[in-house]
């Protein structure tokens, strides 16, 4: 139930795509992220891993 930080390919500061992500949708080779403010970002790639306890997700981009 916690918010997550989504990273692109690696869990590094410069790879942050979005913070405070509250929902993630995977559709047709893209990952749609929605944050606490209801902003959306679409990343072309796939969900690689999600750590729900530590609150981070890694998306592997094409």
């Amino acid at each position: 139930m916690c918010l997550s930080t989504v990273y692109k390919n690696s869990k590094t500061e410069d790879a942050i795509v979005m913070k405070n992500v509250m929902s993630i949708e995977c559709v047709d080779g893209a990952v749609i992220l929605t944050d606490l403010m209801d902003r959306q970002i679409t990343v072309e790639g796939v969900l690689a891993s999600a750590n729900l306890v530590d609150g981070y997700v890694i998306v592997k981009t094409n």
């Binding site: 916690c2 930080t5 944050d35 403010m37 209801d38 902003r39 959306q40 679409t42 990343v43």
Partner: protein
């Protein structure tokens, strides 16, 4: 002792508004999709100047009144840092209330499992937890009034 209720502060007033806008842009291989019509209601009024505060850079040189619902917001909603902090605080207060309910449920399960002392201690912790969350609710209420 408080059980099963939300301490989500915020003004008692509410208002509805709706608007439609569309905008699409892509940069650095990341596409922003901001196209929608939406009507929504929220329990506070605030002016809107928006700054992006998420993890990559891009420019949005317009601001608009999205009423706090940014999904599909044309050009990418630009909220002030304070607006984001208030949204985060609101999320935390609600989240804490949900955790308090879960802990109370856990306490009851401990009681049912025969651990009355553990039940009492967890319920005392729930009470302390809710007291803390009440403080946060008060802070949130004061922030939302401004």
């Amino acid at each position: 002792m408080h059980l099963h209720h939300d301490h989500i502060a915020g003004g008692e007033h509410s208002h509805e508004h709706s608007h439609t806008h569309s905008h699409a842009h892509t940069h650095d291989g990341v596409e922003h999709t901001h196209e929608h019509s939406h009507a929504h209601e929220h329990d506070h009024a605030h002016p809107h100047e928006h700054d992006h505060l998420h993890g990559h850079e891009h420019a949005h040189d317009h601001s608009h009144d999205c009423g706090g619902d940014c999904q599909g917001c044309a050009g990418g909603c630009q909220h002030t840092p304070m607006e984001e902090l208030v949204a985060l605080m609101k999320y935390m207060v609600g989240h804490n209330a949900a955790h308090a309910r879960e802990l109370a449920e856990l306490a009851f399960q401990l009681e049912n499992a025969g651990s009355h002392t553990a039940y009492e201690q967890v319920m005392a912790a729930v009470s302390d937890f809710e007291k803390g969350n009440l403080r946060l609710s008060a802070v949130l209420a004061s922030l939302e009034v401004k």
